[in-house]
């Protein structure tokens, strides 16, 4: 490990330590926002692990998330919570593998379109299954888990995601993804199994998103497919990740914090305008900060340094 890497690691550990102290403040409102921010950090960072290097825009986050939530909601009366978490993770990975096998051998457009309606389709399927196999629409999730617990769990998951991201970045898989993102023909001619690499990375992303859904299930006491599969979640995650920038592992983090606060403000004051805000955010990203805020800052720094010497 180089000294620069060691420094980054120390800073990261300190930041995590500080973040972990939040629940000790006792302020319910702050903790609640903390949970929301932590959730988005995990979701957008794991989203960027796949969609960043490959430029395949995944809109499937809501589908994985909902899957995790529904698994917990369905099984909470009969199966231990920890087991449900494991099942959610596996289910997320399996679903990602299936989606990947169907779409990732083709160009990015098919993937985007497929994931666009995926959450909605699964929601329809789950509702239909619930109606026809007995069982009610709404499921109660009653646990002893408080928001504090959920916050720490998410923080731990975030740490895990950053570690995985860091490890992938130094691994053959990470190198392969960078090459694929540059030119897929060259990647194939260098001996890279492009489909398999993409699917593997997508599975990581899906597994994490499903886990987040599972971890967050206890926050709602009452869960219906409509609640579990939130249509806007996928778009919010995409915006946050792109706003921050996907070139760096901590790019999405930069996008999450301000945007979450913005969303909270809008929810509080103009609740029906969330969609409009998302739309404007998309347009801003495309026209003003296509590389994300972090990317734009780094470009400016580079120019500044060049001009300065």
């Amino acid at each position: 490990m180089t000294s620069r890497e060691a420094r980054t690691l120390v800073i990261a550990v300190i930041l995590f330590g500080l973040a972990a102290l939040l629940p000790l403040s006792g302020n319910g409102y702050f903790i609640s926002i903390g949970v929301t921010i932590a959730m988005y950090v995990v979701l957008s960072t794991s989203w960027a692990l796949f969609s960043g290097p490959t430029h395949y825009i995944s809109l499937a986050t809501a589908a994985f998330y909902g899957l995790g939530t529904m698994i917990v909601a369905t099984g909470i009366e009969t199966v231990p919570y920890v087991v449900l978490l494991v099942i959610s993770a596996i289910a997320g990975a399996v679903m990602a593998a299936l989606v990947g096998l169907a779409t990732l051998r083709l160009s990015g457009v098919y993937f985007v379109i497929f994931t666009l309606g995926l959450a909605e389709m699964i929601r329809q399927l789950v509702s239909w299954l619930q109606n026809n196999l007995g069982g009610s629409r709404g499921l109660y999730v009653l646990t002893d888990l408080t928001e504090d617990h959920i916050y720490w769990e998410l923080l731990a998951l975030a740490g895990f995601v950053f570690l995985i991201g860091w490890w992938i970045g130094r691994s053959r898989l990470g190198f392969a993804m960078r090459i694929i993102g540059n030119d897929e023909t060259v990647a194939a001619h260098c001996g890279i199994n492009t489909a398999r690499s993409k699917i593997l990375l997508f599975m990581v992303s899906g597994m994490v998103a499903a886990l987040v859904g599972a971890l967050l299930a206890p926050r709602w006491t009452y869960i219906e497919p409509n609640i579990a599969f939130s249509p806007l979640l996928s778009f919010e995650v995409v915006i946050m990740a792109l706003l921050g920038g996907t070139k760096r592992l901590w790019g999405p983090l930069v996008g999450v914090i301000p945007f979450t606060i913005l969303l909270e403000l809008i929810e509080a004051n103009y609740p029906s305008q969330t969609i409009l805000v998302l739309g404007i955010a998309f347009l801003l990203i495309v026209y003003l900060v296509p590389q994300g805020v972090v990317g734009r800052l780094e470009q400016s720094f580079a120019k500044f340094r060049k001009g300065g010497t």
Binding site: I179, D183, A188, T194
Partner: protein, 245 residues
């Protein structure tokens, strides 16, 4: 110069695009240490032939074998792992990677897999071999055209291929660059590499190739040493109207 061992064997290879037959029942062999030139007028199917060998396109009929085992029908990545490396007519760079990383891309996943310092050292050796090791940490966009071509060559060599496919590698070079390029390929040849070249530059063909396969409208119309095929009336007729170099 060439040994008797056959590295690549092309039998009855045909490629059709809808109603157009781009390659028509072509046969030839490439022996170890041999430099084979595939020549012919524009549109004769030369690059399609390269694409079929490297796996960028699938055959309609026929068979291609590498050292006795079949490679036609495999994916491009599998064919590369078996030992086939190629350059592209339009140079394909990996723009967000540095020069050294571009070469490492060839070394990490291909025929001979390396990683970490081993891969990096080998990549430097390859850059040295093509003459641009001094540019190892430069960005790809700052390279001149000939240097980009050299980079692509280094990337190909990095996987230690059994056979190297050069698709009009000398195209678009000015006379000085052309001379450098020909020298580079000569050096590869004297190392004993097995190469297939698709070329238009006649000087290069004459000085580099042991054997030539001449194609016209998808079919093989002549085969033999450069001197022999370039004086073949059939071949001259096919090229009529073309500017000779």
């Amino acid at each position: 110069m060439a040994s008797d061992k056959i590295v690549l064997s092309v039998r009855g290879v045909t490629k059709q695009f809808g109603g157009l037959t781009a390659v028509d029942q072509v046969d030839f062999d490439v022996q170890e240490h041999e430099v084979v030139g595939i020549i012919g007028p524009n549109g004769s199917g030369k690059t399609t032939m390269m694409n079929l060998i490297s796996g960028a396109l699938k055959l309609t009929a026929g068979q291609i074998t590498l050292q006795g085992s079949r490679i036609s029908g495999l994916s491009a990545q599998d064919i590369n792992r078996r030992g086939v490396s190629r350059t592209f007519q339009l140079v394909k760079m990996l723009p967000t990677l540095s020069v050294i990383e571009n070469v490492m891309a060839g070394a990490v996943f291909g025929h001979k897999r390396r990683w970490g310092h081993d891969a990096e050292n080998f990549a430097h050796q390859m850059l040295n071999k093509v003459g641009i090791d001094s540019l190892a940490n430069a960005s790809v966009s700052s390279l001149t055209y000939i240097d980009q071509k050299r980079l692509e060559l280094a990337r190909c060599l990095a996987s230690e291929p059994e056979i190297l496919l050069l698709d009009e590698w000398l195209a678009g070079l000015n006379p000085t660059e052309l001379a450098t390029g020909i020298e580079l390929i000569k050096a590869l040849r004297s190392e004993g590499r097995t190469v297939i070249l698709v070329e238009h530059v006649m000087d290069a063909i004459r000085s580099l190739c042991d054997n030539c396969v001449v194609m016209n409208t998808g079919q093989k119309i002549a085969q033999g040493s450069p001197a022999k095929v370039l004086s073949d009336p059939e071949v001259i007729r096919a090229y009529l109207g073309d500017d000779d170099a």
